[in-house]
C-alpha cells in the first residue's frame, strides 16, 4: 500500500514524535509513505477564517503536488487532515470555487481535479485498510495490563467523518483492544481540548483540559493517546499549569497513538521518540508492561 504523505509543520518540530513513530509504524505495517515534494502550510485554522479562496488555493497546492500515480494522501495531523479534506470537498461541491482555485494554481503551473485525491486520516488508514487481521499478525509485545484512554479530539471526526461515529468514535478503542490494551470507555474522548483558547483565555482553556484529564483519571487510565498535535500539546504541556491553577496533581502521560502502537509492534522505543513528552510516559510503560527492556527511562 502506497500513499502520499503530508507531515505538516507540527510534525517537524513540536510533534516530531508523531512523525517518527508514524513512519516507524507504517514501515512495519507495510505502508509506503511518499512525502510530498515541496509541500506547504495547510493554513491551520486561520486561513479559512480570513479568505476562503486564498485558503483553498494554498491548501490545494498540496493536493496538486500528489504524484499522478497516487490517489490517496494521508495527513497524521488532525488540522492538516481536515483542511486538506475540506478543500477537496469544497472544490467538488462548488464547481465555481474549483475553477477559481485552479486559476490560482495555474499561476504556479499546477492543476488539481477535484476529487482526484482521497484525503485520509492516519487512524482510518491503519484501522480500515490494514485491518484487524494484519495488525494482530504483527503484534510482538501485547499491551496487556496497560489502561489507555483514546482521545480523538474534534477535527478528525468532525465535520467530515467517513468511517467512524462522529459523536462517539470507536476506531482507536478497537485498535488498542486488538493490541491487547485495556481501553477505558471514558465519555469525553471526542470533547474539545481547548484548542487555541490557551492563547485567548487561559482559565477557560485550563478548565477544558482539566475535564479531560479528570475523566481519564476517574476511569483509571494510565495514559491518554492522541491523534492530533494540538491536543497532545494542550494536554501535555499545560498539565503543570492546570495543576497549579486548580491545585490538582495530574501526572498523566500524553503520547501519540502511533508511539504506543509502535511498542506493541516491537519497535525499539528509541525509534519512537519517547521522552519528548513533558509528562514522561516511560516510567508508566516500564511499570505496566514490566519492561525495563521495553522502555529505557
Amino acid at each position: 500500500m502506497k500513499l502520499a504523505y503530508y507531515p505538516g509543520c507540527s510534525l517537524e518540530v513540536n510533534s516530531a514524535a508523531y512523525d517518527v513513530s508514524t513512519r516507524a509504524v507504517a514501515d512495519v505495517l507495510g505502508i509506503t509513505l511518499q512525502e510530498l515534494d515541496d509541500w506547504n502550510c495547510c493554513g491551520a485554522t486561520e486561513y479559512f477564517s480570513q479568505d476562503e479562496l486564498t485558503a483553498c488555493a494554498v491548501i490545494a497546492r498540496n493536493l496538486a503536488l500528489v504524484e499522478k500515480d497516487l490517489d490517496q494522501l494521508v495527513a497524521p495531523c488532525a488540522a492538516c487532515y481536515l483542511n486538506l479534506a475540506k478543500t477537496d470537498k469544497l472544490m467538488v461541491d462548488h464547481e465555481e470555487l474549483g475553477k477559481q482555485v485552479n486559476q490560482c494554481l495555474a499561476a504556479g503551473g499546477l492543476q488539481y481535479t477535484p476529487g482526484r485525491v482521497r484525503v485520509r486520516n492516519l487512524l482510518d488508514v491503519i484501522y480500515t485498510d490494514v485491518g484487524e487481521e494484519e495488525i494482530k499478525k504483527k503484534i510482538k509485545k501485547p499491551l496487556t495490563g496497560l489502561r489507555v484512554a483514546p482521545y480523538y479530539g474534534c477535527q478528525v471526526v468532525r465535520p467530515i467523518c467517513e468511517t467512524d461515529n462522529p459523536e462517539y468514535p470507536m476506531q482507536m478503542d478497537h485498535l488498542f483492544q486488538w493490541l491487547g490494551a485495556e481501553v477505558v470507555d471514558y465519555p469525553v474522548k471526542a470533547h474539545c481540548c481547548g484548542g487555541h483558547m490557551t492563547q485567548i483565555s487561559e482559565p477557560q482553556a485550563f478548565e477544558m483540559i482539566r475535564r479531560l484529564l479528570q475523566s481519564a483519571v476517574h476511569y483509571e487510565a494510565d495514559m491518554i493517546l492522541c491523534m492530533c498535535p494540538m491536543c497532545q500539546l494542550n494536554l501535555d504541556a499545560y498539565q503543570g499549569r492546570v495543576n497549579s491553577h486548580f491545585k490538582t496533581e495530574f501526572k498523566m502521560p500524553i503520547i501519540f497513538f502511533t508511539q504506543l502502537m509502535g511498542i506493541a509492534l516491537g519497535i525499539e522505543p528509541d525509534k519512537l521518540d519517547f521522552g519528548k513528552e513533558l509528562v514522561d510516559a516511560r516510567p508508566v510503560l516500564a511499570a505496566k508492561l514490566g519492561a525495563a527492556e521495553t522502555v529505557s527511562v
Binding site: 461515529n165 459523536e167 462517539y168 470507536m170 470507555d185 471514558y186 465519555p187 469525553v188 475535564r211 479528570q214 475523566s215 476517574h218
Partner: protein, 668 residues
C-alpha cells in the same frame, strides 16, 4: 372492413374554443383523417345533450369508433365510455384526447394551439381504429380473510370480521397476540390501563368461533390474487401439543432454566425456557425456547415433560407448513423500536440508568419486573430526577427523517407516571411538542400544571463525566435550552430515550411476498395517502396499524376497523371486476427466454417449466406494460396499449412532420 370513426370536438365553453379553432379542427378532421364519417364540434360534449349526440350518431351513422377531443381522460373518460356503452358500443372503443389541459390552457398562440389540436385528434383517430373491445373480468371472492400480525390493529380487524360472521385466520409471529400494546402500562391521554382494555379483546379473539388463531407462525408465501389467495404459513414448533395443553402453567413453574426476557420484558425481567410471554397470553399454550432449554442444549432435565399432567410436551415436534385459501389479506405487522445504541452520545447500553421507552413501559407496569415501582438499575433506588429525551432516532436525517407521532404523548404519560409514583423532578427535552389529537393538548397542559419541566432543545449528550461535585454520580444531560439560548447541564438520576418507531426489519421482504411496496422510510405504501389509506396497490391486500406509518392506538384501531370494512365490502359484493387493461402472452410465440419473469413487481408472470413458456396471471396484472415493452420476441401484448395502437398514435401525432423521403418513380 374499414372502421367508421366519429370525431367530437368540445368547445368546453371558451375553455378550449378560446384558444383552439374547434370548428376548424372538426371540419378538417372530417376531410383529412381517413375513415372519419362524422366530425362535429359542440359547446359542452360532456353535457347530456352532447352525450346524446354521440349516442345518436353511433346508432344512426353506425359508428364503430369514437374520439372525443375534450378534457383530460382522468375527468371524463368514464362519462364518454358510458355514453358509448349506452349506444351499444364497447366502451373501450372510445378514445379521449386532451385538448383542454394539454393544449388550450397551456398555449398562448391560437394558430399553434389549433395545429397541435389537429395532431392530437389525428393521433387519437389513428389509435382508436386499432382499439379492441374489452370486457372487465368478474372473479368470485372467497369470504375468508387472513390477518397478518396480532397487535391491536390486527386484533381489531379480526374481531370486526369475525363478529360480522366471516371466517378469519389471524397469524402472529410471537407466541401470543397482543403486540406492543400488551407491554404498555397506561395509555395516553386517558390513562386507562392498557391490559384492562386489551386483554378482553385478546381472549375474545382466542375464543371466537370464526377465528383460527395461528400464533408462533410465519407467513411464508402468498400466491393467487384478489378473491382467491393461496397462502403458505409455517407453524413453528412450540414443542407443546396445542390440543393436549390446558395452559395450567405447571411446566413453566417447574422449569429450572431462567433467562433474560428480551422480548416482552425488554431485557428488564426474566422468563423460563418454557414460557408464555406474559400471564394473560392468548393462547395460553407455552412454547419451548430451544436455545435456552436444558434438554435441547445439554440433553438433560425434561422437567416439563415429566410434570405435565396431560403429556403435552413434545420435544420432537417439527415446524409445520399449512396452506390456506383466503379472499383478502390484511397486513398489520406493526413496528420495531429504534436501536438506541446507534446514538452512543446518549449512553444507552453504556450508562446503566439510561432506559429506552419500551424498557420504561415495563418499569412502570404493575405486572412488570419491579411491580410498577420506578427504580433505577440497582433495583432499589428511586430516582430523584428523570430526564426524558424526545426524538431519539426520529426527526433525524441520519436515522429516521419522519416523526414517530406517539413519543410526545408517551413522554407526557411517562412524566405523569413518574410524578405520580415518585417525588422525582421530570425534565422533557423536546424539539417540538406535538399533542395533536383530541384531548392531547389538554394532557400537555395538565403535565405543565403537574410540574413537568419542559426544555426545548435537542440533547447533545448524556454523560457521567462530572464537572462539579454536584454532578458526581449523576447522569448529566447536556442540552441547549433554545428558549433561553443557553447551553445547560442537567444532572439527573435516570434518562429515558424516546426511541423512534421503525418498520419491522423484514417489512420489505414481507411486502415483496404479498406485493405491497414500501415508502423510502420503509412503511407500507397505501393506495392513496388521503383517499384510500388502508388499501394497497395490490387488490385484495390491505394494511392497518403502524406498519403503514407511525400512529397511536386509536388510529391503529380505526385502521384495523377500516381495513375490515373494506374487506367486508368485497365479501358482500361477492365478485370483483378486474380491469381488462392487462398483459397477455401468446404461448405460441413465447420461447421461454424468461426476460420478463423478473420484471413484474406484482409477481404476475409465472413460468411454466413443462411447456417452457411464461404466462401472465391476469388477476395479478396491473397493466403497466413494462413486460410488453421488454419482450424480445414481441410475444406479449398489452391490452388497450398494444404496439399497433401506440405506433398508430405516434404516426397520427406526427402526421404533419417531415414526410418520408420521396421515392422517385421506378426507372425501368
Amino acid at each position: 372492413m374499414a372502421e367508421r370513426v366519429g370525431i367530437y370536438v368540445c368547445h368546453c365553453g371558451s375553455n378550449i374554443a378560446g384558444m383552439v379553432d374547434v370548428e376548424e379542427v372538426a371540419k378538417w378532421a372530417g376531410v383529412a383523417i381517413p375513415d372519419v364519417v362524422v366530425a362535429r364540434d359542440y359547446k359542452f360534449m360532456c353535457s347530456s345533450l352532447g352525450q346524446q349526440m354521440i349516442e345518436e350518431d353511433i346508432k344512426k351513422e353506425k359508428l364503430t369508433r369514437v374520439v372525443v377531443a375534450a378534457c383530460s381522460p382522468h375527468l371524463h373518460e368514464k362519462t364518454f365510455r358510458r355514453a358509448c356503452q349506452n349506444a351499444g358500443l364497447n366502451p373501450f372503443l372510445c378514445q379521449m384526447t386532451n385538448l383542454r389541459e394539454h393544449c388550450s390552457w397551456v398555449s398562448t398562440d391560437r394558430l399553434a394551439a389549433t395545429a397541435k389540436a389537429k395532431a392530437l385528434v389525428y393521433a387519437a383517430a389513428e389509435r382508436v381504429k386499432r382499439q379492441q373491445p374489452l370486457e372487465p373480468m368478474p372473479v368470485k371472492v372467497n369470504p375468508t380473510t387472513l390477518v397478518v400480525g396480532g397487535g391491536i390493529a390486527g386484533i381489531q380487524a379480526t374481531l370486526e370480521l369475525a363478529d360480522a360472521g366471516y371466517k378469519v385466520y389471524l397469524v402472529e409471529r410471537s407466541p401470543s397476540i397482543g403486540g406492543h400494546m400488551a407491554q404498555f402500562d397506561k395509555t395516553f391521554p386517558t390513562l386507562d390501563c392498557s391490559a384492562c382494555i386489551l386483554t378482553p379483546k385478546m381472549s375474545e379473539v382466542g375464543q371466537h368461533e370464526n377465528v383460527t388463531l395461528l400464533t408462533y407462525s410465519e407467513l411464508e408465501e402468498v400466491s393467487g390474487s384478489v378473491g382467491n389467495f393461496q397462502v403458505k404459513i409455517r407453524k413453528k414448533a412450540r414443542h407443546v401439543d396445542y390440543d393436549k395443553c390446558t395452559g395450567c402453567g405447571i411446566c413453566i413453574e417447574k422449569c429450572p432454566r431462567k433467562v433474560i426476557d428480551h422480548e416482552f420484558e425488554a431485557g428488564l425481567g426474566y422468563r423460563k425456557a418454557i414460557y408464555t410471554p406474559f400471564p394473560q397470553a392468548v393462547p395460553r399454550i407455552p412454547v419451548i425456547d430451544t436455545e435456552s432449554c436444558i434438554w435441547f442444549t445439554r440433553g438433560k432435565c425434561q422437567a416439563c415433560s415429566k410434570l405435565c399432567p396431560t403429556q403435552a410436551i413434545d420435544y420432537d415436534q417439527q415446524d409445520e407448513t399449512i396452506e390456506i385459501e383466503v379472499g383478502n389479506i390484511i397486513v398489520s405487522t406493526g413496528w420495531n423500536l429504534f436501536d438506541c445504541t446507534k446514538l452512543p452520545q446518549y449512553g444507552y447500553g453504556r450508562l446503566a440508568n439510561v432506559y429506552t421507552n419500551m424498557e420504561f413501559e415495563r418499569l412502570c407496569n404493575a405486572a412488570g419486573p419491579t411491580n410498577g415501582k420506578i427504580l433505577m438499575r440497582d433495583g432499589k433506588t428511586e430516582p430523584d430526577s428523570v430526564a426524558i429525551i424526545h426524538c431519539v432516532g426520529s426527526r433525524d436525517s441520519r436515522h429516521n427523517e419522519g416523526c414517530s407521532a406517539v413519543c410526545c404523548m408517551a413522554a407526557l404519560k411517562f412524566g405523569h407516571l413518574v410524578l405520580e409514583k415518585t417525588k422525582a423532578k421530570v425534565y422533557s427535552f423536546y424539539i417540538d411538542m406535538r399533542p395533536n389529537q383530541k384531548a392531547y393538548e389538554e394532557f400537555y397542559q395538565r403535565l405543565l400544571e403537574e410540574g413537568m419541566i419542559f426544555v426545548r432543545g435537542k440533547v447533545a449528550e448524556v454523560t457521567d463525566a462530572a464537572r462539579q461535585p454536584s454532578e458526581e454520580g449523576k447522569l448529566i444531560v447536556q442540552a441547549e435550552d433554545t428558549l433561553l439560548g443557553k447551553q445547560q447541564r442537567y444532572p439527573v438520576d435516570m434518562v429515558i430515550l424516546m426511541g423512534a418507531m421503525e418498520p419491522q426489519a423484514d417489512a420489505k421482504e414481507l411486502g415483496l411476498k404479498c406485493g405491497i411496496s414500501c415508502s423510502m422510510a420503509g412503511w407500507y405504501t397505501e393506495r392513496h395517502p388521503k383517499l384510500d389509506p388502508v388499501a394497497t396497490m395490490t387488490d385484495g391486500l390491505f394494511v392497518a396499524g403502524v406498519c403503514q406509518g407511525p400512529k397511536d392506538i386509536p388510529a391503529s384501531v380505526a385502521q384495523g376497523a377500516a381495513a375490515a370494512a373494506r374487506v367486508m365490502g368485497m365479501i358482500t359484493k361477492g365478485t370483483v371486476m378486474i380491469e381488462p387493461i392487462v398483459a397477455s402472452i401468446d404461448e405460441e410465440e413465447c420461447s421461454g427466454c424468461r426476460i420478463c419473469n423478473n420484471l413484474c413487481p406484482f409477481n404476475a408472470i409465472e413460468y411454466d417449466e413443462e411447456k417452457g413458456v411464461s404466462r401472465v396471471v391476469t388477476a395479478l396484472c396491473k397493466g403497466c406494460g413494462t413486460c410488453v415493452a421488454a419482450c424480445p420476441a414481441g410475444a406479449i401484448t398489452g391490452a388497450h396499449f398494444n404496439n399497433q395502437q401506440i405506433m398508430a398514435e405516434i404516426r397520427g401525432a406526427l402526421w404533419d412532420a417531415a414526410p418520408e423521403a420521396k421515392e422517385e418513380p421506378a426507372a425501368v
